[in-house]
Symmetry: C2
Subunit: 438 residues, 2 copies
């Protein structure tokens, strides 16, 4: 069995006006659906970052992918990494701090490989009659827990023109509306951990938001806040001090400030106060090369994995094991995505014994109108996605929906995520991302 | 497909009178051949440590193994580790320093699991039509390089009574005979790296042996010496100093003294002299829990993996990745073994991109008379074993040979490896293992 074809579907999906320290989400998020066809007539699918950059990366991989045996993934990983040893891969640090996810050129080989690997695992699963997680040593769990991913946001929904759609959450720019947003999400999906994307309002309002969430949901719902490096060291310490109680019991403080050195200082000074709120990161640690530095500085106690940019499901398993050895916790990062990515994330999480927190997902921010999975949206029960019994990822494409996504992509001007530009267009013509802002 | 039967074959194989700091090899080494049968009529095989202890471990696993889906290995790993999280597995340190391989009770769950995992991977490979290494992400190499594993030894060969057999190497108890032994082995197998098991003669003689090997074979044949902790810190430093030149260029000093603290001091003092001979270990680091300590003390620069006691092929891959992240080299430990183990080691090594040295193997010390692999001994070309195109491990059992091995096992009194007892029986009635001896 070998790969005979690779079809790339660039699609656009409506995305509400979500805010973060990066700026404002555009009315559409971009994704790429990957189909690989084999000589045995099997189709494997994957979903990854969208727009021109990721498409270029995948196109560049095409000569390596066509003709390959889908089992020979290590070889492909090396080819995409430039023909060198995988060891070269851990030699140089790289940071995501100043780049929106999916746009870090240093991660491109890993992102490209991850999409191909997922589609190959889907192929292998279908050929063998096993779910993807069981190809990776066997599942450590039958269902994967996700968190309620709260955003401050403007009113109105995603999409443009005829395609514009209100979302069900309305404007969320203060503590009370965030509690309402969370209640809607918890009621609908059953989430049992809560993440607030911060770095948007002034720190006191964000502290008040977390306190309001704790008051409403109680200690049974662990809380995490992620300002995406919007705070300086002093502000990070002040917030950590103010939220000591609220972020304990299974919560964490994610990327309060930029750089591992900064995080290390925040950690050291909080510990001096007897405050051991763990610090998590998905921007200061995006690569195996960052892990020992993070440990040596005690800068990061929880790593956010993500199969999309860590290099796929097996790399995520390796990351989980490294974190276990380094006595670090593991959670999972998310980007705007549809059901194919959700299933890849779920299989990755199911196949990684060491996963110590509910995973993040943007899934509640997307809708059935844009879902490309046949049969519609993936169901959550008690905040969890269950591994289906079906071979492979367990989902198939709805080709009409893929075609609609492609049409949308063709119609819109966006080819790259640029949250700063959106912020200038809709909120403040002079806005730019400043780190630290507070 | 599920496991319907587990057949354990305790076998004995002739072993020459090899010496190490543990004492003297008995006339027979003990192994266990494992067969798993499936509902689909597939048989998977594995080879592991022998004697009563390992058999008990495997028997205790039987209720978990019968009825299991061979893909659900993570679940079995947890069951054998006592039902806890895999995380528990890295919580406590454990050392092999004072125990012969295969007899550390703390490693038993990992050893038991490894044998089952290898047989399950053999089953899956046969079901899927792929070699084992390609089930693990795909091979990083098509052939695996092994080292010439030299021992000081007495004359005569292995076996007892009618079954006694001279070996081709004769007595090897000085530098000149070791060079001769090495020449025989290199000529026959094509090895391109050389390991001397030391800790047997006085350190000056062992230094002279390494120098004689370097003189005979030149710098193109990297040299390693492993006294199994027979030296104190001062002696370790003296040997490291004396062999600085000879152990450079791809060689290493393995377990010169006991404990990570001891190794760390040897390393620090050698570095002070500008001597960066790397230290390797398979006794101070036998478990994931040891890795961070080893790194923090800079005690070990090269870890010796071994799928038999590190918990199988996927655990070995994880170890390789952890070592890569910790900037440690990776080699592979060996014990007396036959062709089934050799193939498991070869698949493990093929599936681990980060493998920086030729693997150790005792294979030249066993003979066709005892080989249980159908078709006879595995072939080495230029010191390498090639991954066969056949699905699974790529070898099948010769059941007549297995039966002979079982008969031998029944006839002999040995049920546990005890090199000290052999030493007292044949060399010195008062001998006991003293660490450090020098």
């Amino acid at each position: 069995m070998y790969i005979t074809g690779m079809i790339l579907h660039p699609i656009a999906i409506a995305d509400p006006p979500l805010r973060s320290s990066y700026g404002l989400h555009a009315p559409y998020a971009l994704r790429t659906i990957v189909e690989l066809k084999t000589s045995d007539g099997i189709t494997g699918i994957a979903e990854t970052y969208g727009g021109e950059g990721p498409l270029e990366g995948l196109e560049a991989a095409r000569p390596h992918v066509i003709g390959m045996d889908p089992f020979q993934l290590t070889r492909l990983f090396r080819q995409l990494a430039g023909g060198g040893e995988v060891a070269a891969d851990v030699a140089g640090g790289r940071s995501q701090t100043y780049l929106v996810p999916g746009e870090n050129p240093l991660d491109r080989p890993n992102r490209t490989f991850a999409a191909i690997e997922v589609a190959c695992l889907d192929i292998i699963g279908k050929a063998v009659g096993k779910p993807v997680c069981d190809l990776l040593g066997g599942r450590a769990r039958d269902e994967v827990s996700y968190s309620a991913y709260l955003f401050y946001k403007h009113a109105g929904g995603g999409g443009l023109g005829d395609d514009a759609r209100e979302d069900e959450f309305g404007e969320v720019l203060d503590p009370a509306s965030t509690v309402r947003e969370c209640r809607q999400m918890v009621d609908q999906y059953g989430f049992r951990e809560i993440k607030l994307k911060g770095g948007v309002l002034d720190p006191d309002t964000e502290i008040a938001t977390i306190r309001a969430l704790r008051e409403e949901f109680g200690a049974a719902y662990p809380l995490r806040i992620d300002p995406n490096c919007a705070w300086g060291i002093e502000t990070s310490i002040q917030v950590g001090r103010a939220l000591r109680q609220e972020l304990s019991d299974g919560g964490y403080l994610e990327d309060p400030c930029a750089t591992l050195e900064g995080m290390g200082e925040v950690r050291r000074r909080l510990l001096e106060e007897g405050n051991d709120t763990p610090l998590a990161s998905n921007v200061a640690v995006t690569h195996f090369a960052d892990l020992t530095t993070a440990r040596d500085l005690d800068a990061v106690q929880i790593v956010l994995s993500d199969p999309h940019y860590w290099g796929g499901l097996r790399q995520l398993q390796a990351l989980a094991r490294v974190c276990e050895v380094l006595r670090m916790g593991l959670s999972m990062h998310s980007n705007s995505h549809l059901g194919v990515s959700l299933m890849a994330m779920t299989h990755a999480a199911a196949a990684s014994p060491h996963l110590t927190y509910a995973c993040d997902t943007h899934y509640p921010w997307q809708t059935a109108t844009d879902e490309v999975v046949a049969g519609g949206r993936i169901q959550f029960v008690n905040g969890c996605v269950r591994i289906p019994d079906t071979p492979g990822l367990g989902v198939e494409l709805d080709y009409d929906q893929v075609a609609r996504g492609r049409e949308r992509y063709e119609k819109i001007p966006f080819r790259k995520r640029d949250d700063e530009a959106e912020m200038r267009k809709h909120v403040d013509p002079n806005w730019r991302r400043i780190l630290p802002r507070w």
